[in-house]
Protein backbone atom coordinates (compact mmCIF):
# COMPACT_ATOMS: atom_id res chain seq x y z
CA UNK A 1 0.00 0.00 0.00
CA UNK A 2 2.81 2.36 0.95
CA UNK A 3 4.52 1.52 -2.31
CA UNK A 4 1.48 2.69 -4.24
CA UNK A 5 1.13 5.94 -2.29
CA UNK A 6 4.83 6.71 -2.79
CA UNK A 7 4.51 6.09 -6.50
CA UNK A 8 1.25 7.93 -7.09
CA UNK A 9 2.96 10.61 -9.21
CA UNK A 10 4.41 7.99 -11.57
CA UNK A 11 1.07 6.18 -11.81
CA UNK A 12 -0.59 9.50 -12.58
CA UNK A 13 1.89 10.22 -15.38
CA UNK A 14 1.12 6.80 -16.80
CA UNK A 15 -2.63 7.24 -16.52
CA UNK A 16 -2.42 10.62 -18.23
CA UNK A 17 -0.51 9.08 -21.15
CA UNK A 18 -3.06 6.26 -21.33
CA UNK A 19 -6.00 8.67 -21.37
CA UNK A 20 -4.45 11.02 -23.92
CA UNK A 21 -3.56 8.07 -26.14
CA UNK A 22 -7.17 6.90 -25.93
CA UNK A 23 -8.50 10.38 -26.69
CA UNK A 24 -6.17 11.03 -29.63
CA UNK A 25 -6.96 7.68 -31.17
CA UNK A 26 -10.69 8.16 -30.61
CA UNK A 27 -10.58 11.43 -32.56
CA UNK A 28 -8.46 9.98 -35.38
CA UNK A 29 -10.58 6.82 -35.53
CA UNK A 30 -13.71 8.95 -35.73
CA UNK A 31 -12.31 10.97 -38.63
CA UNK A 32 -11.40 7.78 -40.50
CA UNK A 33 -14.72 6.19 -39.54
CA UNK A 34 -16.94 9.06 -40.70
CA UNK A 35 -15.17 9.39 -44.04
CA UNK A 36 -14.80 5.69 -44.88
CA UNK A 37 -18.10 4.64 -43.30
CA UNK A 38 -19.95 7.25 -45.39
CA UNK A 39 -18.07 6.33 -48.56
CA UNK A 40 -19.10 2.72 -48.01
CA UNK A 41 -22.78 3.73 -48.23
CA UNK A 42 -22.36 5.43 -51.63
CA UNK A 43 -23.23 3.74 -54.91
CA UNK A 44 -19.87 3.05 -56.67
CA UNK A 45 -18.84 -0.52 -56.03
CA UNK A 46 -15.02 0.00 -56.14
CA UNK A 47 -15.44 2.44 -53.25
CA UNK A 48 -17.30 -0.09 -51.12
CA UNK A 49 -14.82 -2.83 -51.95
CA UNK A 50 -11.87 -0.59 -51.07
CA UNK A 51 -13.38 0.29 -47.69
CA UNK A 52 -14.25 -3.34 -46.98
CA UNK A 53 -10.66 -4.32 -47.81
CA UNK A 54 -9.27 -1.75 -45.38
CA UNK A 55 -11.71 -2.77 -42.64
CA UNK A 56 -11.04 -6.49 -43.02
CA UNK A 57 -7.28 -6.07 -43.13
CA UNK A 58 -6.98 -4.12 -39.91
CA UNK A 59 -9.58 -6.18 -38.09
CA UNK A 60 -7.97 -9.47 -39.04
CA UNK A 61 -4.32 -8.70 -38.31
CA UNK A 62 -3.57 -8.90 -34.58
CA UNK A 63 -3.38 -5.35 -33.22
CA UNK A 64 0.01 -6.07 -31.67
CA UNK A 65 1.39 -7.02 -35.11
CA UNK A 66 0.05 -3.78 -36.62
CA UNK A 67 1.67 -1.68 -33.92
CA UNK A 68 4.98 -3.56 -34.05
CA UNK A 69 4.99 -3.27 -37.83
CA UNK A 70 4.56 0.49 -37.67
CA UNK A 71 7.05 1.04 -34.86
CA UNK A 72 9.79 -1.31 -36.05
CA UNK A 73 9.02 -0.97 -39.75
CA UNK A 74 8.99 2.85 -39.92
CA UNK A 75 12.81 3.26 -39.81
CA UNK A 76 13.13 0.90 -42.79
CA UNK A 77 11.10 3.22 -44.99
CA UNK A 78 13.05 6.23 -43.74
CA UNK A 79 10.57 7.76 -41.27
CA UNK A 80 11.50 6.63 -37.77
CA UNK A 81 8.60 7.25 -35.38
CA UNK A 82 8.62 7.94 -31.65
CA UNK A 83 6.76 5.34 -29.59
CA UNK A 84 3.73 7.52 -28.82
CA UNK A 85 2.89 8.50 -32.42
CA UNK A 86 3.61 4.97 -33.62
CA UNK A 87 1.14 3.48 -31.14
CA UNK A 88 -1.37 6.26 -31.81
CA UNK A 89 -1.16 5.56 -35.55
CA UNK A 90 -1.56 1.80 -35.14
CA UNK A 91 -4.50 2.13 -32.76
CA UNK A 92 -6.15 4.73 -35.00
CA UNK A 93 -5.91 2.54 -38.09
CA UNK A 94 -7.47 -0.33 -36.14
CA UNK A 95 -10.04 1.93 -34.44
CA UNK A 96 -10.79 3.58 -37.79
CA UNK A 97 -11.62 0.20 -39.28
CA UNK A 98 -14.05 -0.54 -36.47
CA UNK A 99 -15.47 2.99 -36.54
CA UNK A 100 -16.09 2.71 -40.30
CA UNK A 101 -18.18 -0.38 -39.71
CA UNK A 102 -20.15 1.37 -36.97
CA UNK A 103 -20.75 4.50 -39.05
CA UNK A 104 -21.73 2.45 -42.09
CA UNK A 105 -24.23 0.45 -40.02
CA UNK A 106 -25.52 3.68 -38.47
CA UNK A 107 -26.18 5.29 -41.83
CA UNK A 108 -27.85 2.15 -43.21
CA UNK A 109 -30.08 2.05 -40.12
CA UNK A 110 -31.75 5.32 -41.19
CA UNK A 111 -34.96 4.35 -43.05
CA UNK A 112 -34.63 4.67 -46.85
CA UNK A 113 -37.73 6.88 -46.94
CA UNK A 114 -35.69 9.65 -45.33
CA UNK A 115 -33.20 9.77 -48.20
CA UNK A 116 -35.97 9.48 -50.79
CA UNK A 117 -37.93 12.33 -49.21
CA UNK A 118 -34.80 14.49 -49.06
CA UNK A 119 -34.07 13.78 -52.69
CA UNK A 120 -37.66 14.61 -53.64
CA UNK A 121 -37.21 17.94 -51.87
CA UNK A 122 -34.21 18.60 -54.12
CA UNK A 123 -31.33 18.15 -51.65
CA UNK A 124 -28.08 16.95 -53.18
CA UNK A 125 -26.07 14.08 -51.76
CA UNK A 126 -23.73 16.15 -49.58
CA UNK A 127 -26.65 17.91 -47.93
CA UNK A 128 -28.52 14.64 -47.44
CA UNK A 129 -25.55 13.30 -45.46
CA UNK A 130 -25.02 16.52 -43.53
CA UNK A 131 -28.64 17.29 -42.64
CA UNK A 132 -30.46 13.96 -42.73
CA UNK A 133 -28.23 10.91 -42.41
CA UNK A 134 -25.41 11.91 -40.05
CA UNK A 135 -27.62 13.50 -37.36
CA UNK A 136 -29.87 10.43 -37.20
CA UNK A 137 -26.97 8.00 -37.46
CA UNK A 138 -25.20 9.73 -34.57
CA UNK A 139 -27.95 8.73 -32.15
CA UNK A 140 -28.00 5.15 -33.34
CA UNK A 141 -24.24 4.64 -33.07
CA UNK A 142 -23.69 6.18 -29.63
CA UNK A 143 -23.76 2.89 -27.65
CA UNK A 144 -21.50 1.10 -30.13
CA UNK A 145 -19.20 4.10 -30.14
CA UNK A 146 -18.86 4.11 -26.37
CA UNK A 147 -18.00 0.42 -26.64
CA UNK A 148 -15.27 1.27 -29.14
CA UNK A 149 -13.87 3.87 -26.78
CA UNK A 150 -13.67 1.25 -24.02
CA UNK A 151 -11.73 -1.05 -26.35
CA UNK A 152 -9.38 1.71 -27.50
CA UNK A 153 -8.77 2.57 -23.86
CA UNK A 154 -7.87 -1.04 -23.11
CA UNK A 155 -5.70 -1.40 -26.19
CA UNK A 156 -3.51 1.57 -25.26
CA UNK A 157 -1.77 -0.89 -22.92
CA UNK A 158 0.06 -2.14 -26.02
CA UNK A 159 2.10 1.06 -25.77
CA UNK A 160 3.98 -0.54 -22.88
CA UNK A 161 5.61 -2.95 -25.33
CA UNK A 162 7.22 -0.30 -27.52
CA UNK A 163 8.24 2.11 -24.77
CA UNK A 164 5.35 4.47 -24.13
CA UNK A 165 5.21 5.16 -20.40
CA UNK A 166 1.48 4.60 -20.16
CA UNK A 167 -0.33 3.08 -17.19
CA UNK A 168 0.83 -0.54 -17.58
CA UNK A 169 4.44 0.53 -18.19
CA UNK A 170 4.30 2.81 -15.13
CA UNK A 171 3.27 -0.21 -13.08
CA UNK A 172 6.14 -2.20 -14.56
CA UNK A 173 8.63 0.55 -13.67
CA UNK A 174 7.47 0.59 -10.05
CA UNK A 175 7.93 -3.17 -9.86
CA UNK A 176 11.43 -2.98 -11.35
CA UNK A 177 12.50 -0.21 -9.01
CA UNK A 178 11.15 -1.93 -5.93
CA UNK A 179 12.72 -5.25 -6.92
CA UNK A 180 16.15 -3.69 -7.46
CA UNK A 181 16.17 -1.19 -4.57
CA UNK A 182 14.14 -2.92 -1.86
CA UNK A 183 14.61 -6.53 -2.91
CA UNK A 184 10.89 -7.26 -2.85
CA UNK A 185 8.92 -8.14 -5.94
CA UNK A 186 5.48 -6.51 -5.69
CA UNK A 187 4.27 -7.78 -9.10
CA UNK A 188 1.08 -9.27 -7.71
CA UNK A 189 -0.01 -6.14 -5.86
CA UNK A 190 1.01 -3.61 -8.51
CA UNK A 191 -0.43 -5.50 -11.49
CA UNK A 192 -3.50 -6.13 -9.33
CA UNK A 193 -3.92 -2.38 -8.85
CA UNK A 194 -3.31 -1.79 -12.56
CA UNK A 195 -6.00 -4.35 -13.41
CA UNK A 196 -8.40 -2.71 -10.96
CA UNK A 197 -7.95 0.77 -12.43
CA UNK A 198 -8.46 -0.45 -16.00
CA UNK A 199 -11.50 -2.36 -14.78
CA UNK A 200 -13.12 0.64 -13.10
CA UNK A 201 -12.71 2.97 -16.07
CA UNK A 202 -13.61 0.40 -18.69
CA UNK A 203 -16.68 -0.92 -16.89
CA UNK A 204 -17.79 2.68 -16.39
CA UNK A 205 -17.73 3.07 -20.16
CA UNK A 206 -19.52 -0.29 -20.61
CA UNK A 207 -22.27 0.80 -18.21
CA UNK A 208 -22.59 4.10 -20.10
CA UNK A 209 -22.92 2.17 -23.35
CA UNK A 210 -25.71 -0.02 -21.96
CA UNK A 211 -27.49 2.99 -20.46
CA UNK A 212 -27.37 4.83 -23.80
CA UNK A 213 -28.80 1.77 -25.51
CA UNK A 214 -31.75 1.62 -23.09
CA UNK A 215 -32.38 5.34 -23.40
CA UNK A 216 -32.33 5.29 -27.16
CA UNK A 217 -34.71 2.32 -27.16
CA UNK A 218 -37.13 4.36 -25.05
CA UNK A 219 -37.00 7.18 -27.61
CA UNK A 220 -37.77 4.71 -30.37
CA UNK A 221 -34.27 4.70 -31.93
CA UNK A 222 -32.89 1.25 -32.68
CA UNK A 223 -29.27 1.30 -31.59
CA UNK A 224 -26.72 -0.08 -34.02
CA UNK A 225 -25.42 -3.39 -32.72
CA UNK A 226 -22.19 -3.35 -34.73
CA UNK A 227 -20.45 -2.66 -31.43
CA UNK A 228 -16.96 -4.02 -31.82
CA UNK A 229 -16.83 -7.06 -29.63
CA UNK A 230 -13.66 -7.14 -27.59
CA UNK A 231 -13.27 -10.36 -29.53
CA UNK A 232 -12.31 -8.26 -32.55
CA UNK A 233 -9.01 -7.28 -30.97
Amino acid sequence: MNLIIENLPLLWIGLKATLSLALVTLLASSAIGVVLGSLATLKPKPLRVAVALYVETFRDIPLIVTIFTIFFGAPFVGVPLEPFPAVALGLSLWGGANASEIVRAGITSVPAGQTEAARALGLHTAKIYLLILWPQATRAVLPAYTGLLALLFQSTSLGALVGVTEFLKAGGLIIERSTVMLGVNPSFQIYGVVLAVYFVISSGLSLLSRWLERRLAKGGTRAVVAAPDAASL
Binding site: I61, P62, I64, F188, Y191
Partner: protein
Protein backbone atom coordinates in the same frame (compact mmCIF):
# COMPACT_ATOMS: atom_id res chain seq x y z
CA UNK B 1 16.23 -3.03 -49.54
CA UNK B 2 15.30 -5.99 -51.68
CA UNK B 3 12.98 -8.79 -50.81
CA UNK B 4 15.34 -11.72 -50.25
CA UNK B 5 13.68 -15.07 -50.74
CA UNK B 6 16.78 -17.02 -49.73
CA UNK B 7 16.73 -15.23 -46.35
CA UNK B 8 13.13 -16.24 -45.87
CA UNK B 9 13.88 -19.86 -46.74
CA UNK B 10 16.77 -19.90 -44.27
CA UNK B 11 14.47 -18.91 -41.42
CA UNK B 12 11.52 -20.97 -42.56
CA UNK B 13 12.10 -23.79 -40.02
CA UNK B 14 12.15 -21.29 -37.15
CA UNK B 15 9.00 -19.61 -38.45
CA UNK B 16 7.27 -22.97 -38.74
CA UNK B 17 8.23 -23.81 -35.16
CA UNK B 18 6.73 -20.46 -34.17
CA UNK B 19 3.57 -21.19 -36.10
CA UNK B 20 3.36 -24.59 -34.43
CA UNK B 21 3.54 -22.90 -30.99
CA UNK B 22 0.85 -20.45 -32.07
CA UNK B 23 -1.37 -23.32 -33.14
CA UNK B 24 -0.68 -25.41 -30.02
CA UNK B 25 -1.40 -22.56 -27.60
CA UNK B 26 -4.52 -21.53 -29.50
CA UNK B 27 -5.84 -25.08 -29.79
CA UNK B 28 -5.44 -25.77 -26.07
CA UNK B 29 -7.03 -22.44 -25.16
CA UNK B 30 -9.95 -23.04 -27.53
CA UNK B 31 -10.56 -26.48 -26.06
CA UNK B 32 -10.45 -25.40 -22.40
CA UNK B 33 -12.39 -22.20 -23.03
CA UNK B 34 -15.29 -24.10 -24.61
CA UNK B 35 -15.49 -26.28 -21.50
CA UNK B 36 -15.46 -23.12 -19.35
CA UNK B 37 -18.13 -21.64 -21.59
CA UNK B 38 -20.50 -24.61 -21.33
CA UNK B 39 -20.07 -25.08 -17.59
CA UNK B 40 -20.08 -21.36 -16.79
CA UNK B 41 -23.15 -20.57 -18.86
CA UNK B 42 -25.02 -23.53 -17.30
CA UNK B 43 -24.21 -22.28 -13.82
CA UNK B 44 -25.33 -18.77 -14.76
CA UNK B 45 -28.58 -19.93 -16.31
CA UNK B 46 -29.37 -22.38 -13.49
CA UNK B 47 -28.76 -19.45 -11.09
CA UNK B 48 -26.62 -21.54 -8.73
CA UNK B 49 -26.26 -19.33 -5.63
CA UNK B 50 -22.84 -17.68 -5.02
CA UNK B 51 -21.16 -19.53 -7.93
CA UNK B 52 -23.35 -17.75 -10.44
CA UNK B 53 -22.25 -14.38 -9.05
CA UNK B 54 -18.59 -15.37 -9.06
CA UNK B 55 -18.87 -16.31 -12.73
CA UNK B 56 -20.62 -13.04 -13.59
CA UNK B 57 -17.80 -11.14 -11.86
CA UNK B 58 -15.17 -13.19 -13.71
CA UNK B 59 -16.76 -12.40 -17.07
CA UNK B 60 -16.94 -8.69 -16.29
CA UNK B 61 -13.33 -8.64 -15.07
CA UNK B 62 -11.99 -10.25 -18.24
CA UNK B 63 -14.10 -8.15 -20.59
CA UNK B 64 -13.15 -4.88 -18.95
CA UNK B 65 -9.39 -5.29 -18.61
CA UNK B 66 -6.70 -5.40 -21.30
CA UNK B 67 -5.55 -8.92 -22.12
CA UNK B 68 -1.95 -7.71 -21.90
CA UNK B 69 -2.44 -6.73 -18.25
CA UNK B 70 -4.08 -10.08 -17.57
CA UNK B 71 -1.05 -11.76 -19.12
CA UNK B 72 1.42 -9.77 -17.01
CA UNK B 73 -0.63 -10.42 -13.89
CA UNK B 74 -0.55 -14.16 -14.53
CA UNK B 75 3.07 -14.38 -15.66
CA UNK B 76 4.74 -11.90 -13.27
CA UNK B 77 2.17 -11.63 -10.49
CA UNK B 78 1.20 -15.21 -9.66
CA UNK B 79 4.81 -16.46 -9.07
CA UNK B 80 5.25 -13.91 -6.26
CA UNK B 81 2.44 -15.80 -4.50
CA UNK B 82 4.38 -19.02 -5.00
CA UNK B 83 2.30 -20.13 -7.99
CA UNK B 84 4.95 -20.59 -10.66
CA UNK B 85 3.84 -21.75 -14.09
CA UNK B 86 5.99 -22.42 -17.12
CA UNK B 87 6.12 -19.80 -19.86
CA UNK B 88 3.88 -21.81 -22.16
CA UNK B 89 1.42 -22.72 -19.39
CA UNK B 90 1.09 -19.05 -18.39
CA UNK B 91 0.32 -18.16 -21.99
CA UNK B 92 -2.26 -20.90 -22.38
CA UNK B 93 -3.84 -20.02 -19.02
CA UNK B 94 -4.16 -16.37 -20.04
CA UNK B 95 -5.71 -17.17 -23.43
CA UNK B 96 -8.02 -19.73 -21.81
CA UNK B 97 -9.30 -17.35 -19.14
CA UNK B 98 -9.79 -14.62 -21.72
CA UNK B 99 -11.65 -16.81 -24.20
CA UNK B 100 -13.59 -18.62 -21.46
CA UNK B 101 -15.31 -15.38 -20.44
CA UNK B 102 -16.40 -14.72 -24.00
CA UNK B 103 -17.52 -18.32 -24.52
CA UNK B 104 -19.72 -18.09 -21.41
CA UNK B 105 -21.45 -15.08 -22.95
CA UNK B 106 -21.76 -16.83 -26.33
CA UNK B 107 -23.34 -19.95 -24.83
CA UNK B 108 -25.54 -17.84 -22.58
CA UNK B 109 -26.74 -15.94 -25.65
CA UNK B 110 -27.57 -19.26 -27.27
CA UNK B 111 -29.48 -20.45 -24.20
CA UNK B 112 -31.42 -17.20 -24.06
CA UNK B 113 -32.50 -17.65 -27.68
CA UNK B 114 -34.29 -20.95 -26.94
CA UNK B 115 -38.07 -20.67 -27.12
CA UNK B 116 -39.53 -20.60 -23.57
CA UNK B 117 -42.00 -23.29 -24.59
CA UNK B 118 -39.19 -25.83 -24.81
CA UNK B 119 -38.13 -25.14 -21.26
CA UNK B 120 -41.69 -25.36 -20.03
CA UNK B 121 -42.16 -28.62 -21.92
CA UNK B 122 -38.99 -30.02 -20.35
CA UNK B 123 -40.27 -29.07 -16.92
CA UNK B 124 -43.68 -30.57 -17.63
CA UNK B 125 -41.96 -33.82 -18.59
CA UNK B 126 -40.27 -33.81 -15.19
CA UNK B 127 -36.72 -33.07 -16.34
CA UNK B 128 -34.53 -31.51 -13.69
CA UNK B 129 -32.68 -28.28 -14.46
CA UNK B 130 -29.47 -30.24 -15.08
CA UNK B 131 -31.24 -32.70 -17.37
CA UNK B 132 -32.86 -29.85 -19.28
CA UNK B 133 -29.48 -28.20 -19.87
CA UNK B 134 -27.73 -31.41 -20.87
CA UNK B 135 -30.45 -32.84 -23.11
CA UNK B 136 -32.23 -29.80 -24.49
CA UNK B 137 -30.63 -26.47 -23.66
CA UNK B 138 -26.95 -26.89 -24.43
CA UNK B 139 -27.33 -28.84 -27.70
CA UNK B 140 -29.65 -26.13 -29.00
CA UNK B 141 -27.57 -23.32 -27.55
CA UNK B 142 -24.44 -24.62 -29.26
CA UNK B 143 -26.25 -24.65 -32.57
CA UNK B 144 -27.45 -21.08 -32.16
CA UNK B 145 -24.25 -19.80 -30.60
CA UNK B 146 -21.79 -21.66 -32.81
CA UNK B 147 -20.94 -18.75 -35.14
CA UNK B 148 -20.11 -16.41 -32.26
CA UNK B 149 -18.25 -19.21 -30.46
CA UNK B 150 -16.13 -19.78 -33.55
CA UNK B 151 -15.51 -16.05 -33.87
CA UNK B 152 -14.11 -16.12 -30.36
CA UNK B 153 -11.87 -19.02 -31.41
CA UNK B 154 -10.56 -16.94 -34.32
CA UNK B 155 -9.84 -14.15 -31.84
CA UNK B 156 -7.85 -16.59 -29.71
CA UNK B 157 -5.50 -17.13 -32.65
CA UNK B 158 -5.12 -13.39 -33.13
CA UNK B 159 -4.61 -12.83 -29.41
CA UNK B 160 -1.97 -15.56 -29.22
CA UNK B 161 0.30 -12.92 -30.75
CA UNK B 162 0.25 -11.20 -27.34
CA UNK B 163 2.19 -14.15 -25.92
CA UNK B 164 5.32 -12.79 -27.61
CA UNK B 165 5.19 -10.03 -24.95
CA UNK B 166 6.36 -12.47 -22.26
CA UNK B 167 8.91 -14.08 -24.56
CA UNK B 168 7.04 -17.05 -25.96
CA UNK B 169 8.54 -17.77 -29.35
CA UNK B 170 5.32 -18.08 -31.30
CA UNK B 171 4.97 -16.73 -34.83
CA UNK B 172 5.03 -13.03 -33.94
CA UNK B 173 7.86 -13.52 -31.45
CA UNK B 174 10.06 -15.34 -33.96
CA UNK B 175 9.41 -12.79 -36.70
CA UNK B 176 10.16 -9.71 -34.62
CA UNK B 177 13.22 -11.32 -33.07
CA UNK B 178 14.62 -11.68 -36.58
CA UNK B 179 13.72 -8.10 -37.46
CA UNK B 180 15.51 -6.86 -34.36
CA UNK B 181 18.68 -8.92 -34.85
CA UNK B 182 19.07 -8.90 -38.65
CA UNK B 183 17.82 -5.39 -39.45
CA UNK B 184 15.66 -6.73 -42.22
CA UNK B 185 11.95 -6.04 -42.03
CA UNK B 186 10.13 -6.77 -45.27
CA UNK B 187 10.46 -10.54 -45.37
CA UNK B 188 9.26 -11.16 -41.83
CA UNK B 189 6.48 -8.57 -42.01
CA UNK B 190 5.27 -10.20 -45.20
CA UNK B 191 5.23 -13.58 -43.45
CA UNK B 192 3.19 -12.20 -40.55
CA UNK B 193 0.75 -10.41 -42.83
CA UNK B 194 0.21 -13.40 -45.08
CA UNK B 195 0.24 -15.85 -42.17
CA UNK B 196 -2.35 -14.18 -39.97
CA UNK B 197 -4.53 -12.94 -42.81
CA UNK B 198 -4.74 -16.36 -44.43
CA UNK B 199 -5.50 -18.18 -41.16
CA UNK B 200 -8.04 -15.63 -39.95
CA UNK B 201 -9.72 -15.06 -43.32
CA UNK B 202 -10.10 -18.74 -44.10
CA UNK B 203 -11.53 -19.42 -40.65
CA UNK B 204 -13.90 -16.44 -40.90
CA UNK B 205 -15.01 -17.73 -44.27
CA UNK B 206 -15.67 -21.15 -42.78
CA UNK B 207 -17.70 -19.51 -40.01
CA UNK B 208 -19.82 -17.71 -42.59
CA UNK B 209 -20.43 -20.91 -44.52
CA UNK B 210 -21.43 -22.67 -41.32
CA UNK B 211 -23.72 -19.83 -40.33
CA UNK B 212 -25.41 -20.17 -43.72
CA UNK B 213 -25.81 -23.93 -43.25
CA UNK B 214 -27.16 -23.62 -39.71
CA UNK B 215 -29.74 -21.12 -40.94
CA UNK B 216 -30.97 -23.64 -43.53
CA UNK B 217 -33.90 -25.08 -41.54
CA UNK B 218 -35.20 -21.54 -40.91
CA UNK B 219 -34.94 -20.36 -44.51
CA UNK B 220 -37.84 -20.40 -46.91
Amino acid sequence: MEFDLAYLVRWLPALLRGLSLTVQASALAVLFSIVIGLVGASIRVAKVPVLSHIIAAYVELIRNTPILVQLFFIFFGLPTLGLTLSLFASGVLCLTLWAGAFQIENVRGGLAAIAPGLKEAARALGLTQAQYLRLVGLPLAIRVGLPSMLNTCVSVIKNSAYLSAIGIQELTGVAFDRIASDFRAFEMLAVLLVGYLSVVLSLSFAVRLLEHRLQAPFRR
